[in-house]
């Protein structure tokens, strides 16, 4: 203890360690959230589709957000039932301004499939 006190008495730790790293570069994160709601001209990038699909699934009330990954199966992995699946697909339709035919929407049962469908849809916005 005496040694520790003796060492600490002669050591000065500089305060300005935080300024050494400098201020964080400004993250221009607005780009990902800035969308033109009237336009169907811009094609979505895969990353944007994945990010928005995941945020939809995560915000579903019965889903634990920590479990959601891009290739999660709604009913097998997240413990949802078929009607929850219908609700998620409807939420995805509203998010991407899509009108999915009933038979096709019925087939979408996992994040992977939803991402593929929306990414390949020409009018997803």
């Amino acid at each position: 203890m005496a040694l520790r006190a003796a060492v600490l008495r002669h050591i000065r730790v500089p305060v300005g360690t935080l300024t050494a790293t400098g201020p964080k570069p400004l993250q221009w994160s607005l780009c990902s959230s800035l969308r033109f709601f009237s336009s169907h001209d811009d094609h979505l990038t895969k990353e944007e589709v994945i990010e928005r699909v995941l945020s939809i699934v995560k915000s579903f009330p019965k889903v634990d957000p920590a479990q959601v990954t891009p290739d999660v199966h709604f009913q097998k992995d997240l413990g949802l039932d078929s009607l929850d699946n219908v609700e998620i697909v409807m939420a995805l339709e509203e998010e991407f301004k899509l009108e999915i035919p009933d038979k096709e929407a019925d087939k979408i049962d996992s994040c992977h499939l939803a991402i593929e469908y929306i990414y390949n849809h020409p009018l997803a916005g």
Partner: protein, 117 residues
């Protein structure tokens, strides 16, 4: 023989499940059409879900068929006359409304005639 009947049973159950999913989907969309505000829709959607969940554990296959038919009849009766349709979809406000072609592209209306006749 029992294998065949089991397969038929499974197929019929799968068809019923699909009918229920599609009925729920249409009913949910129609609920959104009828609700004039989002906060009203949430309550209506929750009520609709309760109606479906109430008969979740019905096992008798003929009873299920009858219930689905009743549900579809009710849905048809209360269907919204002017539902929301995504603009580009058939029936939507932008359907077949194409933008004017860019300048420099010209349409020649020669009705199939060739230049050399």
């Amino acid at each position: 023989m029992s294998g065949v009947s089991t397969a038929a049973y499974v197929a019929r159950r799968a068809a019923q499940k699909e009918r229920v999913r599609i009925l729920y989907r249409r009913a949910l969309k129609d609920t959104l059409n009828w609700a004039v505000h989002r906060h009203l829709f949430y309550q209506d959607a929750s009520d609709l879900r309760e109606k479906f969940d109430a008969n979740k554990h019905v096992e008798d296959i003929d009873t299920i068929d009858r219930m689905i038919a009743e549900g579809e009849a009710t849905h048809n009766k209360w269907r919204h006359p002017d539902p929301y349709i995504v603009p580009w979809a058939p029936g939507g406000s932008k359907f077949t409304r194409n933008p004017t072609p860019p300048a420099g592209i010209e349409i020649v209306y020669d009705y199939g005639r060739e230049d050399n006749d």
